[in-house]
Symmetry: C2
Subunit: 235 residues, 2 copies
DNA sequence: GACGTAAGGTCAATGGCGTTGGCATAAGAG
DNA sequence: CTCTTATGCCAACGCCATTGACCTTACGTC
């Protein structure tokens, strides 16, 4: 039966599958991440994962309550590696920039996985540590408490939002991706000046810029505004 | 057979279903939107939609190439109503704020639909019109072309990113939503000062703020930075 | 070292899904 | 009034997640 899932730390008997593979939460999550990368976010199915692990699909239910539970485990793994090894420098603007870019990068590095997990909230240790770190950077920089909370809220949600958005476009199936890019060339670049003058004049610049992430720019603009706010508060 | 989908404007024979309903793209999309609202983003299935329309599921394939095509049509409908009725005032900051809040609001008003469509790029008429409008606001305000494109990119992607993020949390099944809120109260509000001093001191403010969208704040910060940039360029 | 227990594997079945090919029928052109 | 064909219905296919029953082997105990 599937109900009583044994937590990883209490597992004792590691019976190999018929093919000789020895399973573990870690192995399953890593295999799932690889499958997501190779087959896209819809390519992760219990059957296929079982096949890749050389195990019956139903075996997965010994480790996770269902595919949704597995999804959360994958998200947890992503969050874990985002801030792994980061240390604050004491320069607030540099530190915030680093944290933002790291979280963004961790998600974008696994777009298909990010697609499944960005909207889920875990509230686990890694998330708490990141929040505490960001708040500490702001307070240590001299932001008053109210401003700290406001800037923190905008900062963290902006980071997650862009991570999700950029992951989504990276995770598009290659056919749809090609179609989108083609649309950029065929539609935007050729709009007549009479009906869309602003797009027409900006088309070359747009074509170069729109294929990159706007997150670094948006982040810098947010930091600009925060710096101005800090000046106003302390001077 | 399903292949040759007749475009809406060339339809002539409106044969009613067995139950008497007369189908149309519009009716199907509206019904789908209603089902999304009522049954969540996973509750939209061809079979259920057929049931709601009093038609065989396969009939849908006379109107859309598949469920994915229907998804795009839903997204197009959302974009359409976002800027419906908006007129620029000539004050750039006010205009950008209005466009951003309108697009954000349109998606958030249909969270489950937004969940399915925010990551898709249509390149259709409504999207083009919005882009042209934003570019025009910036150029008319006096932004140089390069700055215009940079600010436009950050503005539009930030708007879509926050729309997706906020829609995602609104679209959570109510059980998960309740669990998340409970987590906020039970975890963040009670973290010991020794291990998480910054979260502890900010907890009351956080609890009040985190349940709202950070988009208005982030938008205002982006406009702050853009205004400073405009000053620097023109003075 | 033998043994009993239950963790952790397999197998088979259920009900739901998107999608398609074949067929029936009625709307509208002539 | 007749003919064409757009548009509806039906039945079936091959996926999917999940579950209950069963089997087997790793390990703690003696």
């Amino acid at each position: 039966m599937a109900k009583p899932v044994v937590p990883e730390e209490r597992r004792r008997r590691r019976r190999p599958t018929r093919g000789g593979t020895v399973l573990s939460e870690r192995l399953i999550v890593e295999t799932a991440l690889r499958m997501l990368r190779e087959h896209g976010s819809a390519g992760l199915t219990a059957r296929r994962l079982g096949l890749a692990l050389d195990a019956d699909p139903s075996t997965l239910y010994r480790y996770f309550r269902g595919m949704d539970d597995l999804t959360l485990a994958i998200g947890d793994a992503l969050v874990g590696q985002a801030l792994d090894g980061w240390r604050p420098t004491g320069r607030w603007r540099e530190d915030l920039r680093a944290v933002g870019l790291r979280i963004h990068a961790a998600y974008v590095a696994h777009p298909q996985a990010a697609l499944l997990t960005t909207s889920r909230v875990t509230g686990r240790a890694n998330e708490l540590a990141a929040d505490e770190a960001v708040l500490d950077v702001l307070r240590s920089a001299g932001f008053p408490l109210a401003d700290t909370v406001t800037v923190y809220h905008a900062f963290i949600d902006q980071t997650l939002a862009f991570a999700a958005l950029d992951a989504a476009s990276l995770a598009l199936p290659s056919a749809a991706l090609r179609a989108d890019e083609e649309m950029w060339r065929s539609t935007y670049a050729r709009l007549p000046e009479e009906t869309h003058p602003r797009i027409a004049e900006a088309a070359p610049l747009l074509a170069r810029l729109m294929v990159t992430s706007a997150y670094p720019t948006a982040l810098e603009m947010l930091l600009d505004s925060a710096a101005a706010r800090l000046d106003a508060a302390s001077g």
